[in-house]
C-alpha cells in the first residue's frame, strides 16, 4: 500500500491498525476516567501559562484580607490512598520544601491562622485570589503538581495537573 509516496507493507499496516485500536481503547478509558484525576484542579477556565510576579506561597499568621468561606467539611479518603499522593507536596504547616516551592510555580497559596483554624486561598498568579476557606486547627495544606515538566522559570504552562488538597490532622481529605 502506498500512502503519500511511502510504501506500507501488510505487516506495517497491521501494526498501525492494532496501534490505532489500542489507542482508541486507551482513549475510551481516559474519557470515562477524566473526572477521576486530581481533586479540584486549579486550572478553572485557564488555558494560558500562569506566570509571576514571583513570590513564594505566603503562609503566615497575619489575618487575611477579604471574606472567608466558613466550611465544616466532611473528611473523605486518606490522601495517602489517592493516586496523586506521590506528587502532593506539603506547604502548611512548616516551611515548604524545595519540591513544594517548585510545585507552586505559577500559583499562589496563602494560609493564615484565624481563630480555631486556618484560612486557605489558592489561585493563579497575577490573578485575583478566590475567597479563603476556613479549616479547623490541625489541617494540612498540600499542592499537587502531577508533572514539573510544564514549569518554566516562574510560569506554569499547564494548570490542568495542579490542585490544592487540604487534609485534617489524620490525613483525610477535606478539600
Amino acid at each position: 500500500m502506498r500512502v503519500a509516496g511511502e510504501m506500507i507493507g501488510p505487516r506495517g499496516a497491521a501494526l498501525l491498525a492494532v496501534t490505532g485500536v489500542a489507542g482508541l481503547l486507551l482513549g475510551v478509558h481516559g474519557w470515562t476516567g477524566r473526572h477521576h484525576g486530581l481533586p479540584s484542579s486549579l486550572a478553572g477556565g485557564q488555558h494560558r501559562a500562569a506566570s509571576h510576579p514571583a513570590s513564594s506561597a505566603t503562609p503566615g499568621s497575619t489575618p487575611s484580607q477579604g471574606p472567608t468561606k466558613a466550611r465544616s467539611p466532611k473528611p473523605g479518603p486518606r490522601l495517602s490512598s489517592q493516586s496523586y499522593a506521590s506528587y502532593s507536596f506539603l506547604v502548611w504547616p512548616g516551611t515548604p520544601s524545595a519540591a513544594a516551592r517548585a510545585a507552586e510555580t505559577g500559583l499562589v497559596v496563602t494560609v493564615h491562622r484565624r481563630g480555631g483554624g486556618i484560612a486557605v486561598a489558592a489561585g493563579v498568579r497575577a490573578q485575583a485570589l478566590p475567597a479563603a476557606t476556613f479549616y479547623p486547627t490541625g489541617a494540612k495544606v498540600y499542592i499537587v503538581e502531577a508533572s514539573m515538566g510544564d514549569d518554566s522559570g516562574n510560569s506554569d504552562y499547564n494548570l490542568g495537573d495542579d490542585a490544592l488538597v487540604v487534609t485534617d490532622a489524620q490525613g483525610r481529605i477535606l478539600q
Partner: protein
Amino acid sequence: MTRINAGARTRRPPQRQAARALDLTAQWAPTAGRVLLGLVLAWFGYHELVSPQLWTGYVPGVSATSGLAAALVLAHGWVLLVLAVAILAGVALRLAAAVAAMLLLQIVITLTITGGLTDLTLRDVGVLGLAITLTGTAPQRAVLSR
C-alpha cells in the same frame, strides 16, 4: 608462539577500528534518533490518552475544564501514539516524521505565544529538529519494511 601469531592476525589496526566505529555510528545513529523520538511521542501519547484531564491546560483557546478540551487531548494523544509506533517500527518513516514535525511545530508556536520563548519551548524545538531530521533520513536499520 602459535597462539601469539593467531592473536596478532585478528587484531585490526587502530585506523581500521576507528573507521569501523564511524561506520557503525553512521549506520545506527539515525536508528537511535528514530527510537528516541518514538519513545518521546509514545510517552506523551499514552499519558494524554489515559489521563487527558492533566493535559487540557495546554489546549489553546478552550476552557481547560471543558469536555471539548479533553476530547482534543485524546485525539492528539491518539495521533501521537500511532506516529510513535510508526516511527519506532520505521513504517512510512518519512511521512510519520513529517506529521510529527508539524505537530511539534504547532506545539512550539502555541507555547511561544502563550508563555514566550523559554527553556521549555526550546526543549521542544530540539525535538522538532530531530523530527525534521528524520524526514530526510536515508534507509535505516531495524525497520519493519514489509
